[in-house]
Amino acid sequence: MKRIRFWGTRGSLPVALTAADVRRKVVAALRGASGRSFASDAELDAYVDSLGMAVAGTFGGSSSCVEIESGRPDYVLCDLGSGVRAFGQAAMAKHGATPQTYHIFMSHLHWDHIMGLPFFTPAYIPGNRIRIYGGHATLEAALRRQQEEPSFPVPFSIFRADIEFVHLEPGRRHDVAGMSVTLKLQRHAGDSYGYRFESQGRTVIYTTDSEHPLVDAVETDSFVEFFRDADVVIFDAMYSLADAISVKADWGHSSNVVGVDLCQRARVRHLCLFHHEPAFSDETIAGVLADTRRYEEITRTGAPLLVTTAYDGMEIDL
């Protein structure tokens, strides 16, 4: 594995910046530049970079879709949220109608994780091979159903790519696209599955829509082992810990604090916060990241854990 690329990072529902949001960012950037001059584009870029994501960017609004560059020609994706539309456009721009193979691993079948498929252009192209993997027995039925009338005007049967559904047993190693892939059942309404991808000495964990109630030590320990020594853990950090175990208990999501605790115990190198609450502004998400880095710092007992927060377009080199 060479690289992780995020095409959709928002939880539950895609979001978009409003005109007022953009205006606030422009005003903040101009205010910060007041009285300054920029002798070159490099100086200007340096200033923009200094502003941070909350002013100079956005964490983004597409729902879950993550690409793992396997080092082989085949594409590997996690989930078919709305972010897969942009991924499909990028793949089409690169390859045109030249057939490609896409391996897609589904965490679960809730709407925000499947809604991008009808807009995934490669599915309409003859010759493309699409393999959709998951632990749910209803995987194929769920993806076909979302394109039935009256929910969508284009039926699944319109797709011209060679599409197959592959059921994967949790707890076993599966060899796909040169990677060892292991699923783990997670707590979420209707179940979800986390994935451990291992290849070429690198390990990536994709664990979203997963609640950790911290009631059963054996269950919590099993996640520590699932994460053990991973290079990157992409972790559902939708809520604060207080919310996740009180007013939003049983909503099926986790917190930044639990992410750090599990990753520190598992000696993970990089925790990437993911599946952002749709009500959170860029400022709030940036604040959660700062809080999480501080929490990691004050609770650290071993090697440092790198903490980042995912945004649409972000890349992590492995």
Partner: protein, 130 residues
């Protein structure tokens, strides 16, 4: 983790010591259980003196959340007092400062919760008359 407790009128003051993490959070849970139990239909309130707690993990915080739920279901109050700066940061980052009452000192917590408990607490702090 060491643990001790004292009763002042209708309030227990519990004093955990050291780190509270996945290795000993259940011990804290078991230590708090009898303090939260009702007696004659009345549950005492609880003040956790965190002055000597160096660290608390998410598993430990969950124990506090469960204790708070139990206390509230009995119309009792629960508060945390005298947080060390690092533990105070953990409370803020986890947003536990929004779901638990936090006081700078045990005395201030008792003053808010129970005047009679405060009186007994103050009396216990004075040196015995000779």
């Amino acid at each position: 983790m060491e643990f001790s407790s004292s009763r002042f009128a209708d309030v227990f003051v519990a004093i955990p010591v050291g780190r509270v993490d996945h290795t000993n959070a259940e011990s804290l849970n078991q230590a708090l259980a009898p303090l939260l139990a009702q007696s004659d239909g009345v549950a005492p309130s609880l003040v956790l003196d965190f002055g000597r707690v160096e660290y608390i993990s998410s598993v430990g915080l969950r124990v506090l959340m469960m204790a708070a739920k139990q206390a509230r279901s009995s119309q009792a109050r629960i508060a945390v007092a005298a947080l060390q700066p690092v533990v105070g940061e953990i409370f803020a980052i986890s947003r536990f400062n929004h779901v638990l009452e936090v006081f700078p000192s045990v005395r201030e917590a008792l003053a808010e919760i129970s005047p009679s408990a405060l009186a007994e607490f103050d009396a216990a702090q004075k040196p015995a008359a000779i």
